[in-house]
Amino acid sequence: MLNTKRWLCAAVVALAAGPASAAPPADLGQRLADGYARPAMARLAEQAGRLEQALAAWCRDGGQAGAQAVRQAFGDTALAWAGVEFLRFGPLVQGNRYERLAFWPDTRGVMPRQVRALLGSADPAALAPGALASRSVAMQGLPALEYVLYDEPGLLDAPAGGDRAYACGYATAVAANVAAVSAELRQAWDAQGDYGRQFTAPAPGNDLYRSQQEVAAEAVKALSTGLQFARDVKLAPVLGDSPQAARPKRAAFWRSGMALPMLAASVQGMRAFYGAGGYRYPDDLAWIGPAVDGELGRAAAVLQEIPMPVAQAAADAATWQRLALASLILKNAKDVVDQNFAPALGVVIGFNALDGD
């Protein structure tokens, strides 16, 4: 059974500092911020800015080359998002930023319903600069943009004229919103940003992080829940119990064919985030580092080697097995993170605290 049906809410997974067998690096927050979070946030902001420009140009000029530029920019932005989505704490959970960038999973089909209604109404007020930010989060982010580009009305393949102008204006407005939210993230994580300062300089008077131990707990939580999200939320519902039972439309970003590349990018991101920590272990625990790095590298490689979009990959017996293998490797990686990496940093994951209810 691939789907464990248990999900650790990122907001309530809890970790209490316990007796340490290896203290976290004294500059852990600085390492994680400079070595991973800041460049990853900057990349997202840059790609989203390019996407907005590419859309504006293509909406104005049309043409195959312009459409290709939009495809490329959308894919790059989606990959950049995959690199930050597991940093689901701090700035990303303030002001509904996560949901504004990627409202998913959408079990009740809110996004398609709202986007269709907006396109049907062609309300010009929604496209005014900044106006989308006060609309439903489901209409503001990358899944909505993917929907209009690749599904309905399928802007990228639609002939010019007709309703294209409004849909194009909406797509550009969504890209602008994604760029604006991403810029906020970059700023918050910045060395001058409120959050960036707190994360990199834990201290008794620091309201968010009083010690590197608490920063370490945040890092462990991000990795643990990120791995679980990849496996239980992204892969398991798609795979079902067999290729016949696969449900590829449960995948995030199936419409653009980005589901598997994004999943691979996300796992690579977690691997780099782990690497940025520079964790050191006593000799008898020295295997932990290569184990986490190795499992994440293997899972990403398996996902990257699948040469087709998720719809075909999940329905084909051979590639379904590869996806199931990736799922198993992700589980192993999470087990090492929870059972070995966390306690090695003096982070205790409680029976009740872990699985909020």
Binding site: W7, C9, V12, G18, P105, F351, A353, G356
Partner: protein, 365 residues
């Protein structure tokens, strides 16, 4: 997503076994809790000294109980998203009955019996529609726990339900969080959460009153409930917003009034880590205990003044149950069981144990 037939039959077979009754009950108060012991999930009836009286095997992790002390019965629910529950006799004689969640529904883990013993109501998720219901079960003689209907809870994600002293009004904590069993407990509506307390007539399901917290607290999920001596409902919340926000987590509501929130001292509030996992009143109904396994502490509140009375640190501590006036039994995910209270340092009953984890809730029969 219901559990499959084969698994349910296995569960039925399991439930059909007479629960292991280890000790005669006597007059001492009995307690119930769910736990993981040596890798097995079970519900257990125990006494205040931590001695097992009865062990009910479970197919997966349990959560809380509906209690019918007059008839010596209880129902233990699977933990959210739970697709099973087991009804059993506290005496170990009445046969156990396995309950499967209705199609398209799962249990949230809490429920109540009505005082006449003819009905049991359980908080459930109507997950495709995305709203909360109370499943209504026939627990009369010969009713065999058949589900005979459901009531709306007036919200999403109903978690704990309690019966008010009038014996017919239910108070439901609608946590406000949309979940779907395909995605476990993942919150699907953080941007639009609207938690509430709902008062429901247990006889006909009428929504009598629905109370929300002020709008700035829309991400403060109301989850756990207890009754004070004066009939006020005390509630404990879990904040789903950023860790830097630190809203009050404990409150009181009296019918017809606005809800009141109590923050307590700054260090106590911070120590909750935005999470309350269980709420219980002492036997006198004058002190309420609120636990946070996330923060590793239990805080006590005066039900008259709302004043915070003190704190017991306990790693992964969550289950709280009334012991004596101003005294509670508290257990933890580390296997520990202690006596504690606002003016009593934690006094060990059972030491931490690597193979034993107590689940969130601890109930006195």
């Amino acid at each position: 997503m219901e559990i499959d037939r084969r698994r349910f039959l296995a569960l039925t077979a399991l439930a059909g076994l007479a629960p292991a009754t280890l000790r005669a009950a006597g007059d001492a108060p009995l307690y119930l809790a769910a736990r993981r012991a040596g890798g097995r999930y079970e519900a257990v009836v125990l006494d205040a000294r931590g001695r097992d009286h009865q062990v009910v095997p479970m197919p997966a992790r349990g959560h809380s109980f509906a209690l019918d002390p007059a008839r010596g019965r209880a129902v233990v629910f699977g933990r959210q998203p739970g697709f099973f529950a087991v009804a059993f006799g506290i005496d170990g004689v009445q046969p156990s009955v396995a309950l499967q969640a209705a199609p398209g529904r799962h249990f949230f883990g809490h429920g109540v019996f009505l005082p006449d013993g003819r009905r049991m109501l359980a908080t459930e998720n109507h997950y495709e529609a995305g709203h909360g219901v109370l499943g209504v079960y026939d627990t009369s003689k010969g009713g065999e726990y058949h589900r005979i209907g459901e009531f709306e809870t007036g919200g999403i994600g109903p978690h704990e339900v309690v019966l008010l002293p009038d014996g017919r009004t239910l108070c439901v904590a609608n946590g406000g969080i949309l979940t779907h069993p395909d995605y476990g407990k993942l919150e699907l509506n953080l941007d639009t959460m609207r938690p509430s307390l709902a008062y429901v007539d247990a006889a006909d399901g009428r929504l009598l009153e629905r109370v929300e917290l002020p709008a700035q607290y829309h991400r403060l999920s109301i989850r756990h409930l207890a009754l004070a001596a004066d009939g006020a409902v005390w509630f404990g919340c879990q904040h789903t917003g950023p860790a830097g926000e630190r809203p009050p987590l404990v409150g009181r509501h009296r019918r017809g009034h606005e809800p009141e929130l109590y923050a307590g001292p700054d260090d106590v509030l911070r120590g909750f880590r935005n999470y309350v996992g269980s709420v219980a009143a002492d036997p006198a109904g004058r002190v309420v205990a609120t636990s946070s396994p996330v923060g590793g502490q239990v805080a006590y509140w005066d039900t008259t003044s709302g004043r915070c009375l003190g704190l017991t640190p306990l790693a992964d501590g969550c289950g709280v149950a009334p012991l004596a006036p101003g005294r509670f039994l508290v257990n933890s995910g580390m296997g520990e069981l202690v006596r504690a209270g606002p003016d009593l340092a934690a006094h060990p009953v059972l030491p931490p144990s690597p193979g034993l984890s107590w689940d969130n809730h601890f109930r006195r029969l």
